[in-house]
């Protein structure tokens, strides 16, 4: 008799939260977050209460064997702020290796990234963006964990709080420290854990090589990095005086009212633009993309089932994965696909759908439509058409027809959708 496993996709709105029930009453939680500007059927603590209640139903106690946070975007970890977690026992916590606080490279990277995002937020008023663009940028910045004025937060909840819970929280852990994956090169890394007997975990991303770090480094686009710093300083400077200290003292400077040759206004205008020019939306997308690129990409092998869970990995990560034969083979063998980044264009490429993924497998998209040009294409219509064309039956967490495709079952009050898979 074949076993079955169950994947439960909660309707969290713009965010991810999946509870896996594996044979032997084992539970795995993959992400628990939602965007404050894109809530679904749950508010604040409700989601956690639901998860705990569901887990109790499965195994009789408030215990989750493995908690996975694919990356630190709020819409994947926000709910970890809840105080309810202090009563939940956890076996292991898995995080991407860039979250390892002991890894100097990673720490340096996050420092720069935080600075970049904070400067973008500070410089925002000076950009004169349209309302739609402002909304997009705020959306992305809040998701990155930056305080954005005008976005109401749940009392006391923050990105740092969520990450702290993942690193050190919960009632009790079988394995004290989180597993930072992958633990070493080469990719893909495969391991087993006694907490999930019979399950082989394959880690396809993020890559450990330093090239990735360079790509993620916001200073790779040095001009934007410094332009934002400059603009943030300008926004903070009082009275329109120079925002940054001049590299040379007063004695070397020419007073503005001194007569004599000067560059034409258009020329200084152009140099100023080149120096301070930054595309706020582009910069916000970079912040967003950078964090997405740190996503854990996992294939969970349970019996005959292969669950492909790519977090929000973007095209750059997929390229590397598809270029690696072993990783590609794992992707080709998937029996379930969680669509990345809420069905955005960049997380799932045309090639992946049409040429790599097998046909006739089920897929789930945890997503929510919304306003603004960033959210307009989430989920992407082309993508869903391609999934249909490839016989991949899928459901969305936000909108679903009355009759779901084979294997899917709606939860009460549209709060979740279940999928049963043979394994």
């Amino acid at each position: 008799m074949t076993e079955t496993l169950r994947v439960r996709m909660y309707n969290v709105g713009f965010g991810d939260c999946f509870l896996l029930e594996l044979p032997g009453k084992r539970t795995v939680l993959v992400d628990a977050g939602f965007h404050a500007q894109g809530k679904g059927a749950f508010a604040a603590n409700d989601l956690v209460d639901q998860i705990v209640s569901d887990v109790k139903e499965i195994s009789g106690r408030a215990r989750i064997d493995v908690v996975i946070a694919t990356h630190r975007h709020q819409d994947h970890v926000y709910a970890f702020n809840s105080k309810t977690w202090a009563d939940v026992e956890v076996g292991e916590v898995w995080l991407p290796w860039v979250e390892d606080r002991a890894n100097k490279q990673a720490v340096g990277l996050w420092k720069k990234q935080k600075r970049f995002a904070a400067q973008l937020a500070a410089a925002m008023p000076g950009f004169g963006l349209s309302a739609a663009d402002q909304q997009d940028v705020s959306f992305m910045l809040w998701n990155a964990g930056v305080d954005v004025p005008g976005v109401a937060a749940v009392g006391g909840w923050s990105n740092a709080g969520a990450m702290d819970c993942l690193h050190e929280g919960f009632a009790r852990r079988d394995r004290a420290l989180p597993r930072f994956l992958p633990e070493k090169e080469p990719s893909p890394e495969s391991f087993e854990t006694p907490l999930l007997p019979g399950v082989i975990v394959h880690v396809l991303g993020p890559p450990r090589n330093p090239e990735l770090i360079q790509e993620l480094d916001p200073e790779a686009d040095g001009e934007t990095y410094r332009a934002l710093a400059l603009r943030a300083a300008m926004a903070g400077a009082a009275g329109g005086g120079p925002a940054v200290a001049a590299p040379f003292g007063e004695a070397w400077q020419v007073k503005p009212d001194e007569p004599g040759f000067q560059l034409e206004g258009e020329e200084t205008g152009r140099i100023d633009d080149l120096a301070q020019g930054a595309d706020a939306v582009f910069a916000a997308e970079k912040v967003d993309g950078m964090i997405n690129s740190t996503s854990l990409v996992l294939v969970l092998q349970i019996g005959t089932a292969r669950l492909l869970l790519p977090g929000d990995a973007e095209w750059g990560t997929w390229k590397r994965i598809l270029a690696n034969d072993a990783a590609r083979a794992l992707v080709r063998g998937a029996t379930f696909f969680k669509v990345g980044h809420h069905g955005s264009h960049n997380a799932t490429s045309k090639t992946l759908v049409e040429q790599v993924l097998p046909r006739k497998i089920p897929a789930m998209i945890s997503t929510q439509e919304g306003p603004g040009s960033y959210r307009n294409n989430i989920p992407l219509t082309d993508l869903m058409t391609a999934l249909d064309g490839h016989d991949i039956r899928y459901t969305r967490s936000d909108v679903s027809p009355a009759a779901l495709p084979k294997g899917f079952k709606k939860g009460q009050g549209d709060k979740w959708i279940d999928l049963s898979l043979a394994c």
Binding site: R270, L274, L383
Partner: protein, 626 residues
Amino acid sequence: MRKSPLDTRPERRPLRIFAFDPMLSRAGDHRVTIELPYRPIERAERAFRDDRLEVVDYDAATRRYFRAIDLNDKEIAMTQGLEPLEHDPQFHQQMVYAVASKVLENFDRALGRRLRFRGGDRLRLIPHAFQARNAYFDDELNAVLFGYFPADEDDPGPNLPGQLIFTCLSHDVIAHEVAHAALSRLHGYYNEPTNPQVPALHEAFADIVAMFQRLTFPEVVAPAIRDSRGDLLDPKSPLLDIGAQFGSAAGKGGPLRRIAGKPDPALFARTKEPHDLGWILVSAVYEGFVSTYERRTRDLVRIATGGSGRLPETEPHPDLVNRLTSECVRTAQAVLSMCIRATDYLPPVDPTFSDFLRAMVTADFELNRSDDSGLRAAMIEAFRQRGIRPESVGSLAVQSLLLEGEDLSATEPDPKLAAIVSDLVDYGARQLSRHYSPPKTSERKRRSPNKLATPSDWIVQQNRSLVEPVDDAAGAPSGYSPDEEPEQLLRDIGVTLNAWAKDNRARLKLDPTLPIAVSGFHPVHRIASSGELLVEMVCQLVQTQKLPDDMGGLKYRAGVTMIANIDGQVRYVINKPFHADRASCTRAWLGALDETSDAGWPSRRRDSNRMMAAFSARAMDRRRWR
């Protein structure tokens, strides 16, 4: 020689600079004095200029100007300029002026004419333009903008954390950027990346100019030769570093890529990334240089070692070091001139490394038929070892690498062409005079740069000075308007040349239907090694074909570089015709770029200028100086 007591005008102006990045030269070894041709300097509080360069010290981060140095001040001139100091902005101005002048002098000498920027505009140098880890040439402003930035706090290398690093203090950066500016002037269409070797050629050419110019400073070469005992391929030698300070300051713990290692001919075919391709070319030229140097110094080493050929572990004798140094400097100058001269023999659009190889060989052949020093053969061999092959030639023997010259006996001298050449040559000869300064009337109003309206504008920021072909049917005279080109003579020549080209389409292998743009013409005066004086004209003609599909902002062009002698005979027709292979190569490269950058969904609009944006000077140099 002075003819009267009042004639005190000097020939050369000596100025001190840092020859290596200041971080490396704390010891004081690498401050050198270089000599520039003397040109009268005018100074205002915010800028100073000679007839071709203008240094404006404007900082966009703080919107301030810094006071300009007065190089005419007797106290400064007496000590050969200010003392090299990192935090003295006036020294920075001195440094950029000195290095830029030197580069332009090397170009003048190699090209046999005074390099003149479009419309007689001065090339501007802005030593502290913005805060960023980058320096680049902006075509719109006709200016080189140098950035400055704080050293990485966590891994600053030999700098202090947070210390300000100025890109304008690096000889290599200045020379690299001015070389970009000069190449943009000589071949404006090379700013269009129609195949991966085009931006690679730009980068490689700029690196070659920077590197070999440095190798012509004896004060720099001598200590390096002494320390490495004459081995120019020693990977530890500071001669091989380009932009050393940037690697450390950026926190990567070491200078930028080095030229070393055994050449792998298959690497060239495999490499697609322009910076990597460029390094292959630079290392080929460097190896050609080293093998020529070794051949020239073999007898010295034989004498010094009594025949064993191996120098002892101790420091070599100072006399030997001097002789080796002067051979190195001489060879470096020859290589530098050879590479610069090659630009006259390149097609006006879509160049490849093979075009550059053949141009180098032909340019050198024109100047000295018998390869006395063996430099030409060494270059060919070095290129061959790296898999750079001359295309559409039969074999590797020197002859077939040469560009096909026109058969002079078969054609009559063309009097119209002769008249054009002679006018142009006269103009050029006047410009070469040391006392020449452009008449005030010919100073045009500097063209106002295009406003950067949208964010993508300043990502692209290129190519305002590309000349578009004029629509023949409209009947309007082609060429430049008085605003673009204040010299009446040059405007007239442009018009006449266009007319002549139209009449001679077939002979010049131009497409019969498309309009012709005269994208450049200049006179050349050279003295061959036999003492013969060569006086010629180089002219570039370009045609553009409209293609319906999306080429990422690029246009499909063909062109001809024509070289004519003073008698009105066409000596060379260097042709880059329209050909399906070229268009498909561009498309393939664009496809590869698209594949790397997005996930392939058709509904997602792609930026129509993405190719230009990805390989703009700013983008290329930003990756270069990382």
